[in-house]
Symmetry: C2
Subunit: 217 residues, 2 copies
DNA sequence: GTTAGTTTGTCAACGGCGTTGACAAACGTT
DNA sequence: AACGTTTGTCAACGCCGTTGACAAACTAAC
């Protein structure tokens, strides 16, 4: 009964996801989304309580894209690494929601799926329950945390990003050599390459530490 | 020459910091800040290029509280650990500002001070420039990132926090043992203790990995 | 001492944002 | 045919950051 709906939660979320994918997260506004689905912006409020609501749903849809399957022949470390890299990639695609999701685990299906995959690999590696939990927390904090940090810049075009990193590196280089000798000395190596490569280097260091625990029990 | 100034960068930043401390970071708008300092909102643009500019300064002012001095007799690892723990503590004390600071490096005095202290310790440890930079990035990503994650919960009372962690742990325990065996097995160890202890465990694992690099060159 | 130039704060306004409440259209039910 | 309900439309509210024209208040030059 009632006027027949031309919109639905599903179609709106799909349009929103497309909007984010094509024009970035900053394009996800109620007005632009209304235009995208071809209706008045306020009609969206018939299907979502609030804009944050809609963003959560879009975020969950993006989380679905995290593939947790292990590649044949990969050991636990390679698999864990791949899952973290993939999780980060998906989080960077939706920076605004990263803060919301990282504020508290959603404990929804997709997050549980990722958790299970990580813990399964750690179990396969022979870690005891408490060691596995500690390693899991460390991995998640680094992955989700660094994604939250990098998200704002990740949403900008590649050229802008590179210019920003160059600017930062130059600022370190131009510090006083007497007051900040270590910064000046390391300036050439700071913020070099992409944020992704820096994250992966950090992840490798953490995995080194976790691996070392493997042999001590 | 020119009309005498009634405002200054310093007084504006002080007022902004007070505004954030009392009403949260969401209260830091050009209009409310104008009202706080008793001038027209647009007058602030005589002293700051943009609002993001001002936010960076406010963020850096909060970083003043981070003590980077090494304790006598401590080695590089203990000092680095202490700096990271202190940085995290300051970030968590101003949870709403943590997001603001973590969005992008402020590249202002206090952040440079912390960076210099960390890089100096890593240099003291014998790391080459690129190794020191990689370790620095890893430490910052974990520290600032995990602070950004934990900040929302850290602002709530301890009782609420513990109850939340208990709830999460129970949810993992109540998963299907056939579908999520690893989660169920590790449930007793997940989200145990404080967020601080989890962070410090992660930090120790990362430092293990960094230390291992020390011997390989 | 008047004039010119510069700095600084004020004012009105722009275009954006999320959100609300009144209203009209289109349906199933009575 | 009348009713109640659902759904989209419309105008508007109060925020937001930011801009450009303008007035006030000082220094420097003539």
């Amino acid at each position: 009964m009632g006027r027949p709906a031309t919109l639905s939660r599903g179609s709106i979320i799909a349009a929103a996801a497309l909007l984010v994918r094509e024009h970035g997260v900053e394009a996800l506004t109620v007005r632009r989304l209304g235009e995208a689905v071809g209706c008045d912006p306020t009609a969206l409020y018939r299907h979502f309580e609030t804009m944050a609501d809609l963003e959560r749903e879009v975020g969950d849809r993006f989380l679905r894209a995290v593939d947790v399957r292990a590649r044949e022949g990969d050991d636990w470390r390679a698999t864990v690494r791949r899952i973290c890299v993939r999780l980060r990639r998906v989080q960077l695609r939706q920076p605004r929601l990263a803060a919301l999701v990282s504020a508290a685990p959603t404990r929804l299906a997709n997050e549980m799926r990722i958790t299970e995959a990580l813990l399964r690999e750690l179990d396969r590696a022979g870690f005891a329950g408490d060691q596995a939990a500690t390693a899991y927390h460390a991995l998640i904090e680094l992955t989700v945390g660094s994604a939250a940090i990098d998200a704002p810049l990740a949403s900008q075009p590649a050229g802008t990003r590179r210019r920003t990193y160059n600017d930062w590196r130059r600022e370190y280089a131009e510090l006083s050599p007497t007051e900040s000798p270590a910064s000046v000395a390391a300036a050439d190596h700071l913020y070099l390459g992409s944020a992704d490569s820096r994250f992966e280097a950090a992840l490798d260091l953490l995995l080194d530490g976790i691996s070392a625990q493997q042999r001590i029990h």
